[in-house]
């Protein structure tokens, strides 16, 4: 990461986009005579880091290339490495593409052992990023609140990381018999699950469904229960804030 990159790959801000860029980066790397750490950099979204001496390439998202990258990770590394990379790519930090690329360059010669090589800065960075995402996803498994809209269950969330892909399997497994939608307000992206079927994502403008709420008695019951379950003599808002920071509470019915 120390020297300036000689090549910048500009890709779309999505998991598929970054995976395509990683694919192209390996193609470019193989063309180079000698590759040094940090020669190729991946720029995500519009955050173009204008660099006088670097060549720039616009990467067009290609699902086939992304899929190839993924299957290579699974076969050459391990399922665990695959999970780590996928989690890390859901983070919001701009260097996640560089970290994943560095991780893979380090990883392919090493094989499955790469997940343990935490003394390498890229491996460590991927561990940090994926830990952050996994932790947040774990919390959202608990903090998502569904409103019963009659026809389906609806939930709004505003996660910092892109946790929907991470929690998809969990909710599908837990509520196979429910129609539900989890809508990420920040990314304008909805996780839709029709009962007994596979979940899928709906992006931005395509999502316009009436989500007006009617009165739900169980919401009132829950809010009241929440008040009563606390022991007054032990009231401790700082501890509560520590465990459930305020930004999580925005869409939780008991805090409204």
């Amino acid at each position: 990461m120390n020297n300036y990159p000689s090549l910048i790959l500009q890709c779309e801000d999505s998991i598929e986009g970054i995976l395509t860029a990683i694919y192209d980066a390996f193609v470019e790397k193989n063309k180079m005579h000698s590759y040094q750490d940090g020669d190729i950099s991946i720029a995500i979204g519009d955050n173009l880091n204008v660099n006088l001496f670097a060549r720039e390439i616009q990467v067009k998202t290609d699902l086939e290339k992304a899929q190839k990258t993924l299957s290579t990770i699974q076969s050459r590394l391990s399922y665990r490495a695959y999970k780590n990379i996928m989690s890390a790519l859901c983070h919001f930090s701009l260097d996640r593409g560089d970290a994943a690329l560095g991780y893979l360059i380090k990883g392919f010669p090493m094989g499955a052992k790469v997940t343990e090589a935490l003394s390498d800065p890229y491996v460590m960075r991927i561990m940090e990023l994926s830990r952050k995402v996994d932790n947040e996803a774990h919390l959202f498994c608990g903090f998502v609140r569904f409103h019963d809209l009659g026809k389906f269950l609806y939930s709004e969330v505003e996660p910092k990381c892109n946790v929907l892909p991470q929690v998809m399997e969990y909710f599908e497994d837990r509520f196979p018999n429910e129609h539900y939608v989890i809508y990420d307000l920040r990314r304008k992206m909805a996780l839709v699950h029709p009962a007994y079927k596979n979940s899928f994502f709906v992006y931005g403008d395509e999502w316009n469904v009436d989500v007006s709420k009617q009165q739900d008695h169980f919401e009132t019951l829950w809010t009241e229960y929440f008040e009563h379950i606390a022991i007054k003599e032990r009231k401790n808002p700082r501890c509560q804030r520590n465990l459930l920071p305020k930004w999580y509470r925005k869409n939780m019915v008991e805090f409204k």
């Binding site: 774990h138 498994c141 608990g142 003599e233 509560q240 465990l243 008991e254």
Partner: protein, 508 residues
């Protein structure tokens, strides 16, 4: 919704019951949903995560994971410490099994809860009460097809057949020990009998054992998902490390924990009168008829109230250790005493509930369960209580400075675990990572080691982080300063004052 019909008529009535019975249940401690990993069945609602999931945090900072309610707050017993004692003049209400089921299902599908935690006052007789709890669980599992987590209390004095039938429907069962000393139980809960608490505990323990035999080994490994390869590569090293730890402990004379066992025996007398009725024939037939079900798969837990009867921390930890060793407990919970009845014979704690003491006990409890510590190492007859100013592990470390400093790049697992600031996760990461290169302070910090505590006890490649002396008074002072954030656990955030010290005074 078809479910709603049964309760829709009377929302106010349901609301009243829910609030009263939540109010009576809130002094129960355990609200954990961990210990069993169960995928959904693809048709019905519910699953269970091995690590447990918190769904909210109440104003007292405690996690809300399960719908924690009493079935009824009517009670024939007159326990002095309890809100629901029969001589208290409070409004008494009872749920019906259907109502509990509907509440659980509807809360669950809105993702408010992870499952149900059902306890109850004793209505009519122990058997009648246990029967109601069983009926509720039976409906919830078979009529409503609920596959989530259920924690249910075992009612002391209920017949063993009922306890057993319930155990096949629940994930976790618990029988409250109530107090760390049998003396406390006699004076404060005159209607409860020691044997009635210990017998179902033993029964549940045996049931779990038998169920695991029937279903094959159902160990920690299959319940919590651990990466297999890492697991096996580390397990050999860990075993070696554990043998070394045992050698050390037997040299110190604490391996068998005889002293603590004696203290526990004195405090509680944990021998169970083993009569044929407590488990046996009925147990086996049920195991056969429920060949597809596990008996209490998430294990057994118990809880005790601390600070009401003047017991020492040493007594408490000894009793806990005995419960872990002899009753196969998964968890022991501690609840700081709150004098809800304003009973004059019980301590009042004008300065607030003894939360710090409770916190110290939990810290020590984790040391027993995951860090290979013995109660006798942490406390003794001459030091029967925990240090208020630093946590039990730091306290042990500063009194055993001959064990330090520890070299991060070579030390084995249990040696690493004894360093303050290193936990099970970071110790495992260190073991894995150092096979690929030398570790320095920067690297272990990123792995999650808390350097502000660890730096006095470790070296990386033969060097300490700063030039700090290995000297008891100096390190203690630094650690007391480092622990200031622990004040977060005190309700008003500032009732304890420690002397301000400069962060690093580099005295050599």
């Amino acid at each position: 919704m078809a479910n709603e019909i049964s309760v829709a008529s009377d929302w106010d009535g349901i609301m009243e019951k829910l609030t009263i019975l939540a109010d009576s249940a809130k002094y129960d401690v355990a609200c954990t949903s961990s210990g069993v990993e169960r995928k959904g069945d693809g048709k019905h609602m519910g699953s269970a995560a091995g690590c447990g999931i918190c769904h909210s945090f109440a104003a007292d900072g405690r996690c809300i994971s399960l719908l924690k309610i009493l079935f009824t707050n009517e009670c024939i017993y007159d326990c002095r410490y309890c809100v629901n004692r029969s001589s208290n003049d409070v409004k008494r209400v009872s749920f019906t099994p259907e109502e509990v089921c509907v509440l659980t299902m509807e809360f669950y599908r809105r993702n408010y809860i992870e499952g149900l935690f059902l306890s109850s006052g004793i209505i009519g007789s122990p058997d009648y009460t246990m029967g109601l709890l069983y009926e509720t669980l039976f409906l919830l599992r078979t009529k409503y097809h609920f596959h989530g987590y259920i924690h249910v209390k075992g009612i002391p004095g209920a017949s063993s057949d009922l306890v057993e039938l319930t155990g096949y429907l629940a994930d976790r069962m618990s029988v409250n020990l109530e107090f760390p000393t049998a003396e406390g139980l006699r004076t404060l809960a005159p209607n409860k009998v020691r044997q009635n608490i210990l017998t179902p505990m033993r029964q549940i323990q045996n049931g779990i054992k038998e169920s695991r035999l029937n279903h094959g080994v159902y160990s920690m490994k299959s319940r919590v998902s651990i990466d297999e390869k890492t697991y096996y590569s580390q397990i050999a090293g860990m075993q070696e490390s554990y043998d070394k730890l045992c050698d050390y402990q037997s040299a110190k004379g604490v391996l068998r924990g005889e002293k603590a066992a004696k203290v526990a025996e004195g405090a509680w007398g944990l021998t169970v009168r083993e009569n044929a009725k407590s488990y046996g024939v009925a147990q086996r037939t049920a195991a056969l008829t429920h060949a597809d079900r596990y008996f209490v798969p998430a294990g057994q837990s118990t809880q005790m109230i601390i600070g009401a009867t003047g017991e020492t921390d040493y007594q408490i930890m000894s009793v806990s250790e005995a419960l872990y060793n002899r009753f196969g407990m998964k968890r022991v919970f501690y609840s700081a005493f709150v004098n809800v009845n304003q009973d004059e014979t019980l301590p009042a704690f004008r300065e607030g509930v003894p939360l710090l003491r409770e916190h110290r006990l939990y810290q020590a409890d984790f040391l027993l369960r995951f860090y290979g510590f013995k109660a006798d190492e942490l406390l003794s007859e001459c030091r029967p209580n925990f240090n208020e100013r630093i946590d039990p592990k730091c306290d042990w470390a500063v009194r055993h400075l001959e064990q330090f400093p520890v070299e991060i790049n070579t030390a084995d697992y249990y040696t690493l675990l004894r360093v303050p600031g290193i936990g099970t996760k970071s110790a495992r990461r260190i073991l894995a990572a150092r096979q690929h290169g030398k570790l320095d302070f920067d690297a272990i910090k990123k792995m999650g080691v808390v350097l502000k505590r660890a730096l006095y006890f470790i070296t990386c490649n033969g060097r300490m982080m700063y030039n700090t002396p290995i000297e008891e008074n100096y390190i203690t002072r630094q650690l007391v300063y480092a622990e200031k954030p622990a004040q977060l656990l005190l309700p008003d955030g500032g009732s304890a004052h420690y002397e301000q010290l400069s962060l690093f005074d580099f005295a050599v």
